[in-house]
């Protein structure tokens, strides 16, 4: 039902309709209204069964979310800024363990100097953590993205962060059309975990992984991000068919057809940019906009296609890397591409970088067989076997443990 509602309350309602079973969060501006509203719904019994757990810090909030998710519960939390930094160790753990927690990040600057207002520094601080990061342009899109986020997270067993601009969206009262419970239930099936702490079928989650397998475990997590590049647009299309609303997806093009100059941005600023572009379009300038909805995984191919052949690309971003420059711009530059640059990921988790491996890599480079992105000494067999297990059984178990067990197993073919 379309209603005039504060962004935070729209998110709380949308999350509640996703039926989270455990919500654990610690208040911080500008996220507080979301959590307050969910707390009220749990207390009044409007959101049930659901346990709202009060904790003493953001670190505890994410740790409880990890425990709840590992126990098979649909888990939700929300934070911002310093709160995100305080939970950052657990943020990495949630992703590394492959636990499909959904978190709202009410984007806010990071101190010092202390500042409560909006920018994207907090999201950028965890862009390499392994969480999927989706950016909302409006409160409508933020509400819709949360429903899509649970679906995506649980299918892939990867945590998803929905980023929405603090205050600008969280505190704005505007029209939001919320899905009814039946629509959400039809779109979001009950959580079917890939791994669960079950006394009837015990597993351990969180193994120590040494140099022999760390790179492979990381690469498997990377592959799930690449899976998300396929699933994000498919889920958005299904959502559109169900709701009639076009929200989510990888990128959102606006007036790109004949654009010579394209502005790239993320989040709520896209609306203001579109107004400015319309004004200059009326004066005859050929401008277009490319909104990035999925920042992680970064849709290199979609961005490349959208920006191919443009005379100028302008990235407007609410964060920067001190001593370097643009963060989003760097990713956009990778998408636009260069034929001379190759990335070779090597030495993860103590994996020795050997002269033999380097010589082999250099030979591939000389003969034109070195991909733009490659992983040195990657054991592709163990990767393929884990991917096959995942394709065969839903409850495929903790993937790090699976890789270790696989490597420890006697080889039938010792060659």
């Amino acid at each position: 039902m379309l209603q005039q509602i504060e962004g935070s309350h729209a998110i709380a309602e949308s999350v509640a309709r996703c039926r989270p079973e455990v919500v654990c969060a610690y208040p911080i501006s500008p996220q507080t209204h979301i959590i307050e509203a969910i707390g009220v719904m749990v207390k009044e019994g409007a959101l049930a069964p659901c346990e709202f757990i009060n904790v003493e810090s953001e670190f505890a909030a994410m740790s409880v979310s990890i425990g709840a998710s590992a126990a098979g519960a649909r888990a939700y939390t929300a934070t911002a800024s310093q709160g995100l930094l305080f939970m950052i160790e657990a943020v990495y753990n949630a992703a590394g363990l492959g636990l499909p927690i959904v978190m709202t990040l009410a984007n806010r600057a990071i101190g010092a100097p202390i500042n409560i207002w909006n920018d994207h520094s907090d999201a950028m601080a965890v862009r390499d953590s392994g969480w999927i990061q989706l950016f909302a342009e409006t409160n409508q899109e933020a509400a819709d993205l949360h429903v899509q986020a649970f679906r995506l997270a649980e299918e892939l067993s990867v945590p998803v962060m929905v980023c929405m601009d603090g205050f600008i969206l969280t505190h704005a009262v505007e029209g939001v059309d919320l899905l009814d419970q039946e629509q959400v239930d039809g779109f979001l099936p009950p959580y079917e975990p890939r791994q669960v702490l079950d006394p009837e079928d015990p597993v351990s989650i969180g193994a120590m992984v040494g140099p022999e397998a760390f790179e492979e475990v990381r690469y498997l997590a990377h592959l799930r991000q690449l899976d998300a590049l396929d699933r994000i647009p498919e889920i958005a299309a299904e959502f559109a068919a169900m709701s009639g609303r076009d929200s989510g997806g990888l990128v959102r093009p606006y007036r790109l057809e004949d654009a010579e100059t394209v502005i790239v941005a993320m989040g709520s600023v896209l609306g203001t940019i579109k107004d400015a572009v319309d004004e200059r379009r009326d004066a005859g300038e050929r401008l277009g906009v490319l909104g990035i909805t999925s920042f992680r995984p970064f849709p290199l191919e979609a961005v490349r296609q959208a920006l191919a052949g443009r005379a100028r690309v302008i990235v407007v971003e609410k964060a920067f890397s001190l001593g370097m420059g643009g963060v989003l711009a760097t990713d956009v530059a990778m998408a636009i591409g260069t034929t001379t640059l190759h990335t070779v990921v090597a030495g993860l988790g103590g994996r020795p970088i050997t002269r033999t491996a380097l010589l082999d890599m250099l030979e591939r480079a000389r003969s034109g067989r070195l991909d733009p992105l490659s992983f040195l000494d990657l054991d592709e067999g163990v990767i393929a076997r884990e991917r096959a297990r995942m394709a065969t059984v839903r409850r495929s178990g903790p993937f790090a443990e699976n890789v270790l067990r696989d490597l420890g197993r006697p080889r039938e073919d010792p060659a």
């Binding site: 209603q3 005039q4 504060e6 500008p30 409560i116 207002w117 909006n118 601009d165 205050f167 600008i168 505190h171 704005a172 009262v173 505007e174 029209g175 709520s268 600023v269 609306g271 203001t272 579109k274 107004d275």
Partner: protein, 196 residues
Amino acid sequence: MFQVRIHGRGGQGVVTAAELLAVAAFREGRHAQAFPSFGSERTGAPVVSYCRIDDREIRTREPISTPDAVVIQDVTLIHQVDLFSGLDESGYVLINTSRTFAELGLGELAERCRPDHLMTCPATELALEHVGRPVPNAALLGGFAALTGQVPIHAIGDALRDRFGPTVGERNLAAATAAFDHVRAQMEVVSGAAAD
């Protein structure tokens, strides 16, 4: 697009006023967007809130720098805060006071703006009378409805009942209606004077 900027102090319901106005406009089938000035608001500190009303989707997210109307909930802000920044000569001003613009030291503003667009309303007194608390926001919304015609008073009433429930909502609507009548009467005096 019609853009409103509301100035007041923490505790006077400045943010709530913009939200109520957005809800009232929405109930009339219009697009509306309300948002606060995002400060660390404290009781008594200057606070600003914004509301945009349009017949099409509102995409911009910037603070309102060229308002069509300015509502001032607290006269002690006059000459302290740049209240009329960006307001052109056709803009509307509504001030919570029983004094005149000249008495408030706003003679210059009164000279450059249309007299039928500059109104005052003793909103705090009306709130005390009808609601029992010195919170002028609902009354000023009634005055705003009379002054600008952007939203009907019944839509303000709907928004107030939604927000505060039937009992307190009705009391606030009584204050808003009294303010509406007060501003309407003032406008008739001004237009009568213009006709003379």
